[in-house]
Symmetry: C3
Subunit: 467 residues, 3 copies
């Protein structure tokens, strides 16, 4: 017994460290995909957000999520993970107030550490979509609210033994609990903030604002992929050899077919295999497989990843067309594919993978009950987070304010918010603002910022506004 | 028993994750050592290649390598890792078609995941040497062929219970199986593609084309070093405390003396301790210790690494002189030192390190039998991969074509192949083409691209060609 | 028993790999915080230093530190870790010459590997503070001396069973053993070398020399944070579920409150939340919690981190004011907070966290005995390292010389020492030298190098000197 506790704790702590490392991944991806004038700000947000998450989740979030309570929220052991608890005792032997997570035989500290790094992930998803125009302090305040209150509440519904868990909804590692919650909050933030200056032209044209450093973005993507080997296989929270191995394979396969899907689709739609799309395809596959990773076969994982990677390209184009300015595609990756992946449990689940959990999904003769539960969960979590995060954003907007001044935005948030430059020695071009019309199918990647030589009248008009 | 399976699986999965992370290492090293105009392309190749490897090795590669068959290739359980298997049963208790790898007591999924990340490494080695002029699609097709067919065949000879394994050839973690196979394919690719435009002048002069970002290259090298702690110690595929610890030390020691050797030799030959050489020395030491890491003492590892690091500097100069354009030194690191390291087993092996395996090598009284087996293996794998990879390259060349147009190559593959720029906001110099003659010993590092002020007649001629 | 050895070895090796990875973290932080003209040099130093450390610690350092001997130094099993040893036997069953570390039940190789990566950390701390003006060879020689002799001696006092260990001094993971030793050597190096040209103006003005790449610095900081999950929890050197989990939490909490503290204080003192300060606040929190991580509660860790992060900002300003040029703040982070963290054991320790070790500190009713022992240790280690490292620096200074020529320093050490450029294709500005007076409280961050437009007379004078 004691040996099993040691083994499980080793696995939980090491995979938690990998998930922690995803903070670097998000920072690099988001900074790489945005402009250098906002680089310090983006890095700062992605750095400070885990500090906020740690304090907020420790202070109250853990208790709201895992404390015993009613089907909607935890009510016991709320503050500072301070409730009664005799972990690593499990099941009937467990005596304490965090009984929804008594199935894993590790010390309370390990449980908290693992769940903390997940909570941090949800918050860091938001930071990308609001990049380039949000006030630093306002983002910090929102992060406290999201990780301290919003994320734990819907988390309680699913992982905290709440009403969705009891309804037969399954989300193994958090396509909904983590990714789509982060994605919804990212979407409301992007909408309420409005687009960056220059992203959409006076006549509705869409301006491509290319990322300043794709090497940085690639480092980030690979670090995230590595981190996902903590995220998904670690969610066993136990050293289960067959299941851990299986989840490594489903996770990896979906990432790979996500890459291939996005590469193919971007090659077809955008004429060339855009690296940004390929990276987002990888992340899309990973997000999508997160919920079903322990319930589906490797072949199914390949299909799920392929679809996820293929979806992300039109999704990015769609959000551009409806004029939601999400600089890094966070909604396309985390919201769209978080929902899609959760749905896939209802379609692709097979009983043999994790007996006595989901049963079979629709495609394997299991009928629609599971699928219905999944759709209910997606909708309920979406509706709650949409409304609650919008309320948070509006409260911040009408108290300390959300958005930096136009002048600060044009100069870059690095100087305005931090007094730093990311690369003070390097000479940079002024970004041009050349729009492409939404009526044509011409994609963002085609009009990249180095085409400074062109002198369309639209662009000239805009340049005057800027200078 | 069950506990041992858990322990072994933990070790195998975690070390496999580290080896997976080497994909980032290769991407950063290769991108950092090449020009910024090809950076997106190199990153894309290193990113997509693991997706190709996963699909190819899952679909057929694993079966060809580890399936029961004849001494030359696996024939059972070929497709989608779908053969009969009762892992984690080991030895006589094992019942299935992958009996050559029944010595490790982990689930089939863990075996496959660990071997998959190794197969991916072989493919990613190639990407560096063909950088700056290969078509993206052609590289993707070659990667499928290499990981799906070529790598598994020679792998079967050694790790799949084939004829080399039975001949007394030993390669613990893959100096030959992985690195020299990747190296041979890299060499044939570089030769068949021909050099990058401007690398060699009209009179045979050699042009140094410095890497665009040594910070990126250093990140890559350190990530590779970290990954090697998965590569070598993980190849125990079992939680063997003494051997795991010993391999950590031999691996680390060879990397360190590789660094010191290359630093010293580059200081002597090039007058200054070139950072690129130092990094390649580290990798050379790691490649060389990969085969013997479990068979030699720490002192021997120090000597092996020192020689490996010292070899890599003249090797890079040699390939330049024979006009093989390998932009990142992949052949010098992986081929030359893969062969050297495999040879070292026959020289430095000591029976006490891993009893009942290699026995003693030549330097420790073991005679020449082991050495002869090692040389046979190096030659056989080399001959096969040389010929087979050349055939693959030629098939691609005469079907979809291998090389981008000259104009695309000069403009950079990032625009031509991907429509992206890695650093669109940063102002860059046009690279100069100033040659140094092969008749002098003057090394590449001395004529770096910032010497833009010089105006030799050779250079002027060339500039006219370019502009 | 055998199972426990496997578990402990897994934990020790994996956490050692994480600590090894901190070499990348230090390299990126130090390079990112300095100028691009010295980037190759800084990366080279951080790369080669671990090779030097490995050889030095293997050859003699380990024996001096852990060999049986007198209270001041180890004397047995000195060379090449070659003494008698029957690890993993522990306690009374242990027979060998490294009895001070017989409490952990792992093979000798694992003990050495874990301690080696710690020794390497001490050396790499130095590299930052002497950046921008030290000769490459001189740094290499110092690294051999530090890791081969100095570090092991004070290490023997504490972890090698020496006089401080017997006096009741506690340093769980090395705030003093590693960080403040590195910090003292960094301080003497910075003082004896003198400031970089242009750092302090003719009238005592302080010139801000901003780092060239904050993305790189952030990568480094996050890698260090990850590495610290090896550094502190790994120092259990045993799979102790409760304690490992607890240390993960104290470590993480101190990093987070360090971030928040430094952000807040820099916002107050410098008017804006400087990213460099935020990152140093994180590292300060981590350094400070290193000694007490296994002895204090999570709440205490939060307080320790908060103070550490708050201290680091005025500490950086202080060293600037006394004209010690430490380009990356190594002394403020590692020396100041290494001492502070060691002190905190005497203040915040609580017996229940690790029974039968420290007992309670001053704030929890334990009286001043522990605190006195801690202060004695801080002072003794400080005095020894201050004197011994100064002697080493002076010996180097008067034999091979310490500092590059003024011309080389102004051109950058990359060309002078290595013949490389880190980013040869990118166009960079010449740094300006605009001073701020020490008499005003104006902080460095305010006069960053992009304020090239200003033309104060002071600056003009200096520019003339340079050009």
């Amino acid at each position: 017994m004691e040996t099993k506790v040691m083994l499980d704790t080793l696995w939980v702590l090491i995979t938690a460290m990998l998930v922690f490392f995803m903070n670097l991944g998000f920072g690099c991806v988001e900074a790489g995909f945005q402009q250098s004038k906002n680089c310090v700000n983006i890095l700062s947000k992605n750095f400070v957000v885990f500090a906020c998450s740690t304090v907020a989740f420790w202070f109250v979030g853990w208790g709201l999520m895992f404390g015993d309570g009613n089907p909607f929220v935890g009510l016991q052991g709320l503050l500072m993970v301070g409730g009664a608890d005799n972990s690593p005792a499990t099941g009937d032997a467990y005596q304490g107030v965090y009984s929804s997570i008594n199935w894993t035989g590790v010390p309370l500290g390990a449980k908290f550490f693992f769940q903390l790094v997940f909570a941090g992930t949800a918050a860091t998803i938001v930071s990308g979509s609001v990049g380039g125009r949000i006030k630093y302090l306002s983002f910090i305040v929102f992060s406290f609210l999201l990780v301290g209150i919003l994320y734990p509440i819907t988390g309680h519904w699913i992982w905290g033994g709440g009403w969705l868990a009891k309804s037969g909804f399954w989300d193994f590692a958090g396509s909904t609990v983590v990714h789509s919650v982060g994605g919804w909050a990212a979407l409301t933030g992007a909408i309420i903030l409005g687009p960056r200056f220059g992203k959409f032209g006076p006549k509705g044209q869409i301006n491509a604002i290319p990322g300043h450093n794709l090497s940085l973005a690639l480092i980030g993507t690979m670090v995230l992929w590595l981190g996902w080997f903590g995220f998904n296989p670690g969610s066993t929270m136990a050293a289960d050899p067959r299941l851990m191995s299986h989840i490594c394979l489903t996770t990896n396969m979906a990432a790979c077919t996500g890459i291939l899907g996005a590469t193919l689709v971007s090659w077809l739609l955008l004429k060339k295999p855009d690296l940004g799309m390929t990276m987002n395809g990888c992340l899309a596959g990973l997000v999508a497989i997160t919920a079903p990773c322990a319930f589906v076969s490797i072949s199914s994982a390949a299909i799920i990843g392929l679809i996820a990677g293929s979806i992300v390209v039109p999704a990015v184009i769609f959000f551009d067309k409806v004029h939601v300015d999400d600089p890094v595609g966070a909604t396309s990756v985390h919201l769209v594919n978080g929902a899609f992946g959760t749905l896939c449990v209802g379609l692709f689940a097979q009983d043999w993978v994790s007996p006595n959990t989901t049963g079979n999904g629709l495609f394997f003769g299991g009928g629609t009950a599971l699928l219905t539960a999944q759709i209910t969960g997606i909708a309920a979590v979406g509706a709650f987070t949409l409304i609650a995060s919008a309320i948070c954003w509006f409260i911040i907007k009408y108290t300390i304010g959300l958005r930096v001044t136009l002048q600060e935005e044009i100069e870059g948030l690095d100087i305005g918010e931090h007094g730093n430059l990311a690369y003070p020695e390097f000479m940079t071009r002024k970004p041009s603002y050349s729009f492409y019309s939404t009526s044509t199918a011409e994609p963002p990647a085609k009009s990249s910022s180095y085409s400074g030589g062109s002198s369309s009248s639209k662009k000239r008009e805009y340049s005057e506004v800027i200078s």
